[in-house]
């Protein structure tokens, strides 16, 4: 089943996930007339007796970002794996880029995954490949891109994350922060329509974490990719939500406080005991009176 969708970038309709306007039996629910790039509909997943997600529903519109917060084991990373079809839900429906991935055969999922980039917690770079080969993996191995074009794109994304000088190094020769940035470069090399970040700053010192946060903001604002960010690092989550990347007159990238429109394009989702305890903008999160959320934010 294929639901044709166009690829609109960020619309003018900010705000929390809008209520459904339509739910057809085959296609994803429309939100404000737009087809979401991700739609979860009452998704449940348990590992043996441990219910990780219970009746989770949310949508992500094109060009937007959702930041998933929650305690360890609350199911944040599981959501990303469900999006990619690396895990299958026990119940519920999942649409990614208009396709039902929860029932899709593994072979067909490859086409969906080719439009999604994922940054794993520790980078998950391939040990036996150089930085250049890691970054260009999808282009060299899976795409039909001419080699010189693939090389040019690899140089471009390595320059984007500031690691051009490290192209011929092996992953073992990189620092933790550099590995995460290479992982971001690898994920964005094939120009995916959406990026998934799984705890991209965990275990990094604050300065290195900031460089990774800036890459996330750059990819969102300058490349226009939609994104899901899973983290429990509040400082990083708030930085990503409250800043935007712009190019200065000299084309240098600058990070400035986000405009009201930009602020509304990043939403927070708080997971608690398998369910969604909060969903809204950064301002709504700051104003919340919920005791659990207040405790988490403090």
């Amino acid at each position: 089943m294929t639901v044709p969708i166009d690829t609109p970038r960020a619309s003018e309709a900010p705000g929390p996930t809008a209520p459904r306007e339509d739910t057809s039996p085959d296609g994803p629910p429309l939100v404000d007339g737009e087809v979401p790039v991700i739609a979860f509909d009452r998704v449940t997943l348990a590992f043996d007796d441990n219910v990780v997600l219970q009746d989770i529903s949310f949508t992500l519109l094109p060009g937007r970002m959702k930041v998933f917060l929650g305690a360890s084991g609350s199911g944040k990373s599981t959501i990303l794996r469900l999006v990619l079809g690396l895990l299958r839900p026990d119940a519920g429906r999942i649409w990614v880029l208009g396709e039902r991935v929860d029932v899709m055969p593994e072979a067909d999922l490859m086409a969906v995954r080719s439009q999604v980039g994922m940054i794993f917690q520790d980078g998950a770079l391939f040990d036996s490949l150089t930085v250049r080969e890691n970054v260009g993996y999808r282009l060299f191995q899976e795409g039909d891109v001419p080699e010189d074009e693939a090389d040019a794109r690899v140089d471009e994304v390595l320059g984007f994350v500031g690691l051009s000088a490290f192209a011929d190094r092996m992953p073992s020769a990189l620092s933790g922060g550099q590995r995460r940035r290479v992982a971001i470069a690898r994920a964005m090399a094939a120009r995916p329509r959406m990026l998934l970040y799984d705890e991209p700053t965990t275990g990094l010192d604050p300065i290195t974490a900031m460089t990774v946060d800036q890459e996330i903001v750059k990819v969102r604002d300058l490349e226009g990719a939609s994104g899901l960010l899973v983290t429990h690092q509040l400082r990083d989550a708030f930085f990503v939500a409250t800043h935007e990347a712009v190019r200065g007159p000299d084309q240098a990238v600058q990070f400035v406080p986000a405009s009201a429109e930009r602020l509304a394009r990043t939403e927070f989702v708080m997971l608690k005991q398998g369910g969604i305890a909060f969903e809204g903008t950064v301002d709504a999160l700051r104003r919340t009176e919920d005791a659990y959320l207040r405790a988490f934010l403090s």
Binding site: R81, L84, L86, E106, A107, M110, A111, R113, S114, V116, G117, M118, F120, Q121, D122, A124, L125, F126, D127, Y137, R138, Q141, E142, R186
Partner: protein, 256 residues
């Protein structure tokens, strides 16, 4: 009792998952994409990489076989036919089995450790996320390389084993080289050659696919990788010996 039932259930689950992997490998073999460069790389790693250990194993096995059988044949005054015994034993039995066991120790453990590390560091998940089927990219090239190279290594081992037998026959048993080689040829029938070629194909497939299966089922971080490596060697070695018996029994009824 409950533990025993659990053990049986887990064993059946492992067998089911192994058969599923084998069927996925079969499907990957007849459909695209096919990663030819990885196959060549694995042919080199498994074949050329195992050459030294297989040469040494074959040489010393042939030498000790000549020494031991020479002593026994002496009791019947039949020392001159030592070549017949060395060739038949090497080609039909020791060549395939010892080569498979050595490759299990070297390659099976390596595959389990490599794939296991990739599982626990999310590299397998990253491969899938990048649109690559790990069965096609990682398992199929290794299985093809193992199935092709173990028979080649076995032939090399057999040859070196017979050479080792000749060295001992000439230097220790005082049997002329011409008589030794004449007996080597006389002791072999076409059925023996077929047995010596069919066995390592099956053993090569089994030991590599078991290494891949155990590696891909790794759980529990670096400790799990260590467990997977041990399991791959133990399971692979036992499988080699059990399969050797079964194939021998089958081939005897078919070929002789």
């Amino acid at each position: 009792m409950k533990t025993f039932v659990e053990w049986i259930k887990n064993a059946l689950l492992e067998v089911q998952e192994y058969l599923r992997l084998v069927s996925q490998v079969g499907r990957a073999l007849v459909s695209r994409p096919f990663y030819g460069r990885d196959v060549v790389q694995q042919l080199d790693l498994i074949g050329v990489g195992s050459l030294t250990v297989v040469l040494l194993t074959g040489l010393f096995t042939g030498m000790v076989l000549a020494l031991q059988s020479g002593m026994t044949l002496d009791q019947f005054g039949a020392r001159s036919i030592v070549g017949r015994l060395v060739s038949a034993t090497m080609v039909k039995e020791l060549g395939p089995v010892l080569t498979a066991l050595m490759v299990t120790g070297r390659v099976g453990s390596g595959i389990a450790a490599e794939l296991g590390s990739m599982v626990v560091t999310d590299q397998i998940a990253a491969l899938r996320a990048l649109g690559t089927d790990p069965i096609r990219k990682l398992v199929l090239p290794r299985v093809i390389a193992g199935t092709v190279m173990v028979p080649v290594l076995t032939v090399v081992s057999n040859g070196v084993g017979m050479l080792g037998g000749m060295i001992i026959s000439v230097t220790q048993l005082r049997v002329a080289a011409s008589i030794y080689w004449s007996n080597v040829v006389d002791g072999l029938y076409m059925a023996d050659i077929w047995m010596g070629l069919i066995k390592p194909v099956v053993l090569g497939f089994a030991l590599v696919s078991i290494g891949c299966h155990v590696g891909l089922r790794t759980k529990g971080g670096t400790q799990g990788v260590g467990r997977a490596t041990t399991n791959a060697v133990v399971t692979g070695s036992v499988a080699v010996l059990v399969l050797d018996f079964l194939i021998t029994k089958l081939l005897i009824s078919v070929l002789y």
